[in-house]
């Protein structure tokens, strides 16, 4: 992801290293630099290794003899490994709708919370709310899943026309809660980073507190809020365990309503990987490739947003 930066670092290191030759102290310096460099390389190499592995395995079924049609794979509405049918379009749709739903609920709620903490709430109340949010961020996702299954799914079961609780709606509800800490924490810090002078200017023009917040402070923090949203999308799209427990994981068909089951890309992989072999296993990796591409797009989006923020910063 950041290869260019790393390469630059390597060449810089080499240059400094060369100057250092012949001196005891500089020799030590070089050793430490190398250790740091190796540590830094570990994550870069890991990313490369994972990409290579997932892509080699995941692209295998679409090439060579007896290749599976890639378009059947990407547009298919049914997943039945027993009959050699591997279609993931309905999973892509399920993952995207669930993510969008969680964003549509989570971003407004998260932003309001952030505004409340950063601008409105008295310090004592912040001292209660903030640790609660941090705790929420630390809960393992399997616990979210168990909560979703035990509470949200049960509630939905009571009102759903299908009589079943595992559904798109359940996934959206749980994902909304799961992305809240990300949205709140990042939005709050970007709101706090808005210079006091904007607030003063707004009050000085006769704006009320609420007008100042929504016309001046929130717009000034918009790139931070946008980054928070993109990270939230990444979190929701990649969430596996909690989602697997409450999605229903149907074997085919597009979701027609909030009550329908879905089968997110992530749970498709995690449910079957333990016993799959041969082409079946490769197809799970192919699902992983698709998921990976989505995450890649989101990361690129994030880099673009944050670099834009940087540019704004230098202009001031």
């Amino acid at each position: 992801m950041n290869n260019a930066g790393k390469e630059k670092m390597v060449t810089e290191n080499a240059a400094i290293g060369n100057q250092a030759v012949g001196n005891q102290k500089d020799y030590k310096d070089l050793v430490f630099r190398t250790i740091f460099l190796l540590c830094a390389l570990l994550s870069v190499l890991s990313v490369i290794a994972i990409i290579t592995f997932v892509f080699t395995k995941g692209l295998k079924p679409f090439f060579g003899e007896n290749a599976y049609s890639f378009s059947d794979f990407i547009t298919g509405l049914k997943w039945d490994p027993g009959k050699e049918v591997y279609g993931i379009f309905y999973m892509i749709v399920g993952s995207i709708i669930a993510t969008l739903g969680a964003i549509m609920l989570g971003v407004p709620i998260g932003l309001m919370t952030a505004v409340f903490i950063a601008e409105i709430a008295p310090k004592k109340m912040v001292a209660i709310i903030r640790p609660a949010i941090e705790l929420l961020a630390g809960i393992p996702s399997v616990i979210y899943g168990a909560f979703g299954l035990g509470v949200i799914v049960q509630l939905i079961k009571k009102v759903s026309p299908t009589g079943q609780g595992e559904s798109l709606l359940a996934v959206i509800c749980v994902l909304t809660i799961m992305i809240l800490p990300t949205i709140i924490t990042l939005s709050e810090s970007s709101l706090r980073a808005v210079p006091k002078s904007y607030r003063e200017a707004s009050y000085g023009l006769g704006a009320s507190k609420i007008q100042t917040i929504f016309k001046s402070v929130v717009p000034a923090a918009r790139s931070g809020i946008l980054s928070a949203t993109v990270l939230g999308i990444g979190r929701a799209l990649g969430e596996t365990m909690a989602v697997m427990m409450i999605a229903g994981n149907n074997i085919g068909g597009l979701p027609g309503s909030l009550w329908d089951k879905i089968r997110p890309l992530t749970s498709n992989i995690s449910m079957e990987m333990s016993y799959a072999s041969g082409r079946h296993q490769d197809m799970l990796f192919a699902t992983g490739v698709v998921l990976f591409l989505f995450i890649l797009v989101i990361n690129l989006l994030l880099i673009k947003i944050t670099s834009k923020v940087g540019a704004q910063g230098t202009k001031n």
Binding site: R199, E200, A201, G204, L205, A207, K215, A220
Partner: protein, 252 residues
Amino acid sequence: MNDITKFSVSDLNLFYGSFQALKNINMDIYKGKITAFIGPSGCGKSTFLKTINRMNDLIEGVTINGTVTLDGVDIYKEMDAISLRTRVGMVFQQPNPFPMSIYDNVAYGPRIHGIRKKSTLDEIVEKSLRQAAIWDEVKDKLKKSAQAISGGQQQRICIARTLAIEPEVILMDEPTSALDPISTLKIEDLASELKKDYTIIIVTHNMQQAGRISDKTAFFLTGEVIEYGDTEQIFNKPSNKKTEDYITGRFG
């Protein structure tokens, strides 16, 4: 010319916690004049300025007693801060345009106060920018970021933004301290021009500036008004020894 009282301040004391920042201020500020507040750093002149449009309300732990009236109405007891600040605009020490276009900056106030119509907003924006003597420089880039222009231009945009809410009084808190001499001169000319329509109160560190543009001058020291009178008299024949020492540069 008859002097009409705009603000009347009597027995004003202000405390930050237990620290007394303003001591027993009594002063009348006149309509259509430029009144300058001078004095060394920490003397209370900016604090006093912020008392006049209740910007001190935003700071925790401030207690104020005494009265300040605007056209005879008590601004702390009989007026809310929002309508007060609509009548008494403020220009700050650092140019602080919002991170928006020049147009949106100037239209911010009118929009806050409920003006939605595009043609009305266009008129207000043009009129305010003309009044702030910056229309010709920015008329072709109204959609550009207000933070992408020079500091002096930014400050005039901020003045235009204040003028757009059609205040009666403009408070300027060291408006040129962050600017170069040429921009400073432009702001000073502008202030002299604006006093035809507005009452202006300016806090300044720059004594020559006070001498050049103001009609009345108040000299502050450690939270007190040492001397207040016509600028000419304060600068030429100060009646208080401390004022004389400050103006002749013996301290401060």
